[in-house]
Structures are given as structure tokens and as C-alpha cells.
């Protein structure tokens, strides 16, 4: 079935239902994903982005339902990453004379992936490409989320093709926002933002302002993953604006790792204290939780509480890995608290404090460190620790 965004603007992407881990193991994609490519049939037939390499054949067949793929004149590469450029070699084999358009960084990056001798035209923000009835213009978007990233805009149809921005890892039998559950859609959009774009939040806010200043009308936002925003594109722009400003609500994320259960006992008591204060929280044992999901929950949360038992004078290894990942996301405007247990000499609490400082969050209250198994009195302190922290949730 041919899927059109507008007259002669086709979705020719691929739905990858089975992918459960993305980017190596940096992103769990429980709902799979899609690789969205778009075909514009005009005097110059133009393919905007491709798909992940293993799906090259499926992309080519989708194009063939519309036009013979050999007829493609132009290929716009908004982003070098292989989930979007992977089918380029196969496409270029079919239409070796096609001209490729992208940023200077895209040219370098594509060469360093595929080593092809392709006719490449470097474009910059404001450049215009006439296709016939339609006109494409381009907006460079470096570090949203790679140096080569770029948005393409179809003027006549008012369609923005921003590649990874505004995307979601969400495989469904539908292509458009008005066809799917809104809760799931926004949940996947938040997960994508938190795990991929969070570090670049200041750039997200600036780019949205830049595009708004350009005053280009946008009817459809068609990203390179997941659902296309045609009914309510401003919804995702507003969400990006809020996430980009690191806006939070009164919400606490408890994440911990435990060895023989003491740190977990502390975490539960802390949670009771938070409950008393009436503040929303989420509770994650790092070893039975999905990091991608925890990070998504952190995106809108003001407070982080991190705990670990001491092992070899340090925190346990999986919470350490988690904090290392969190450091890369550069969250802003958050507060944190630390708790843990130890046997004969501590280490976990102090090292978590140091890691959280590197993450860039403020430690809002003295940490709690308990020897061996928490006593009744110590559990009471845990309760108070949670309650005090919850009371600090002014946003």
C-alpha cells in the first residue's frame, strides 16, 4: 500500500518490529522501531534519507511500487548514521548518477562509512533545491544529534523532515499521530528525547527558536523514526521545548543496587517517607529494571535518589555504569540524595556523591550510610530522609 503525506510525497520506510536493542545496547527498543524514508515524485525524483542496510531490498521494493528506483535523481542525506544511510550503497548501485545532498560533515561521514565515489553537493542553511513544482530548503542542525544532522523542508506541502529530531522508536501498523494511542506515543517520544537528545537540550531550544524566527509554516513533521506528526505537530514541538528547558515536576526517581538486601530495605523506607509527603516517585532496582526506561522517567523528575551497597570500597558495578551513562546526559536543574550500606568500611556513598557532582546535580541533603543491616532507628532515619527530600520538591 502506498502511503502519502501529501500529493506525490510518499513514505517509503521500513517497520522493524523485531529490533529490541538499538545503537549496540544503549537503547532498549521494546516496541521496535521504524526507519522512515520519503520519496518526492516531481520533475526531479528525490529520496529523502534511506533505511538501515539490512532493509535495503524492502526500501527499493517500496520505491518500485511508485517509480522505477533507477529514476531517482536526488538523494538528500539528512544524517550519516547507518540506520538512515545504510541503504545508500544499494540505491547508488541502481542510480549511480543520482546526486547526493547533505552538509559538509555529512559528506565526510558518508565517505568514511561507505567509501563511495558519489556526486555529492554540500549544502548549507538557507540553500534551496528546485525539484519542479516543489522546492526543498535546508536547515543545518549540528549535534541534533550528530555534527552532520540537518532538517529538510518541503515548502509547498509545508512538511518538515527533521530526521532523528521528534522521532520515536515505535513500530506500529500505523504511520500517523492521529491513528495511535497518544499516551504510548508521547511515552516513546520522551524515551527517545531522554536517551538521545537530552545532552543537547540547549541546542534543541535554540533550534526551535531559530525555526520559529524563520516563520516557516509547518503542517507535518515527519521524523526518521516512528510516527509522523500530521494532526498535531505543535504537540511534539512544545514537548521538546519543555524537555529542552529541563522543566521538571515534583517527582522523585529512586534507583539503587543492593547486595544482601540492606540497601533495598533503606530504599523502601525512603519511599514510605516520600509517600507520606504525597510526592510522586518511581522505584527501580537497577538489576531488575531497564536503563532506557529509568532515564525516561528521570527526564521530567526534579529529584534523584541513588543508593548502593559498598563492595570493594566502592559502589556496586551496575549502579556505577548507570551513573556513567547519566553523566553523559547532562541533566540540569535537579537535586539528588545518596544512601547506602556497608560492612567494615564505606565507599559507595562517597563515590556516588562524587559521581552525582560530575553528573551536574546538586546534593540537597546529607547522605545516609548504614552498617550491615539497618536497625529500627536507622530505618526511621531512612523514612525521614525520604520525607525531607520530598519536601524539597519545589519546581
Amino acid at each position: 500500500m502506498k502511503i502519502q503525506l501529501a500529493d506525490n510525497v510518499f513514505w517509503v520506510g521500513v517497520v522493524d518490529w523485531n529490533v529490541k536493542n538499538f545503537h549496540g545496547h544503549t537503547f532498549t527498543t521494546g516496541r521496535g522501531t521504524t526507519y522512515n524514508a520519503y520519496l518526492i515524485v516531481d520533475e526531479k525524483i528525490t529520496l529523502v534519507d534511506t533505511v538501515y542496510g539490512p532493509f535495503s531490498g524492502e526500501l527499493i521494493e517500496k520505491v518500485r511500487e511508485i517509480i522505477p528506483p533507477e529514476k531517482i535523481d536526488y538523494i538528500v542525506a539528512n544524517h550519516v548514521e547507518t540506520d538512515h544511510s545504510g541503504a545508500m550503497p544499494a540505491i547508488m548501485k541502481l542510480c549511480p548518477k543520482a546526486k547526493v545532498f547533505g552538509t559538509a560533515k555529512c559528506k565526510e561521514g558518508l565517505y568514511k562509512h561507505y567509501y563511495g565515489d558519489w556526486d555529492f553537493q554540500v549544502i548549507k542553511t538557507g540553500d534551496i533545491l528546485k525539484l519542479g513544482k516543489r522546492t526543498l530548503s535546508f536547515i543545518e542542525a549540528p549535534m541534533l544529534h550528530w555534527p552532520d544532522s540537518m532538517f529538510t523542508y518541503v515548502k509547498e506541502d509545508q512538511i518538515l523532515l527533521p530526521n532523528d529530531a521528534f522521532g520515536q522508536h515505535y513500530a506500529t501498523s500505523f504511520r500517523f499521530d492521529d491513528e495511535v494511542d497518544q499516551g504510548v506515543l508521547m511515552d516513546e517520544a520522551a524515551k527517545y528525547y531522554a536517551n538521545i537528545l537530552w545532552p543537547f537540550s540547549a541546542l534543541v531550544v535554540k533550534k526551535i527558536e531559530d525555526v520559529q524566527k524563520m516563520g516557516i509554516p509547518i503542517k507535518i513533521i515527519a521524523p526518521s523514526h516512528g510516527i509522523i506528526w500530521r494532526k498535531d505537530p505543535i504537540k511534539i514541538v512544545n514537548a521538546y521545548s519543555s524537555w529542552g528547558k529541563n522543566e521538571t515536576k515534583k517527582k522523585i526517581i529512586i534507583v539503587y543496587e543492593t547486595m544482601w538486601g540492606s540497601t533495598e530495605k533503606m530504599a523502601r523506607k525512603i519511599a514510605e517517607g516520600i509517600t507520606t509527603a504525597g510526592v510522586e516517585f518511581k522505584f527501580f532496582d537497577i538489576n531488575s529494571s531497564d536503563r532506557t526506561e529509568i532515564v525516561k522517567e528521570m527526564l521530567g523528575a526534579k529529584g534523584f535518589l541513588v543508593g548502593s551497597s559498598t563492595h570493594d570500597n566502592d559502589m556496586l558495578p551496575n549502579i556505577a555504569g548507570f551513573l556513567e551513562f547519566l553523566k553523559g546526559l547532562k541533566p540540569k536543574n535537579r537535586i539528588a540524595g545518596v544512601f547506602g550500606s556497608f560492612g567494615w568500611a564505606g565507599g559507595a556513598v562517597k563515590n556516588i556523591e562524587n559521581d552525582l557532582k560530575d553528573v551536574g546535580v546538586e546534593i540537597a541533603q546529607p547522605s545516609l550510610d548504614v552498617q550491615y543491616v539497618p536497625s529500627e532507628g536507622e530505618l526511621k532515619k531512612c523514612f525521614e530522609f525520604g520525607k525531607t527530600f520530598a519536601d524539597k520538591m519545589e519546581v
Binding site: P142, M143, P147, P199, F200, A202, L203
Partner: protein, 52 residues
Amino acid sequence: MEKYRCTVCGYIYDPQVGDVDRGIAAGTSFESLPADWVCPDCGVGKDMFEKA
């Protein structure tokens, strides 16, 4: 020694300040930053900087 601006996020590298968090001492010129030094704010390489 000249200051350099990140063309992506606007961060300014000031040689008089250096980048102490990443082990770059004050007084290090932009040219003598190691090749793998990246913008502390957005993570791009030295090639994305221009003279401020």
C-alpha cells in the same frame, strides 16, 4: 593567544582559563589542545571551532 568559539553551541574556549575539568591547564593555546579534546558543552571536535 586567541579565544575560539564553538560554531555549534557558542561555547568560548579561553586559553587564559583553559579547561581544568578536563585536565587542560590555564595558559594552553587552542592550537595546543590535544586532537581528541571536545567542546565541554556539546561534544563536537576542534574542527567545529572558529576564532572568536
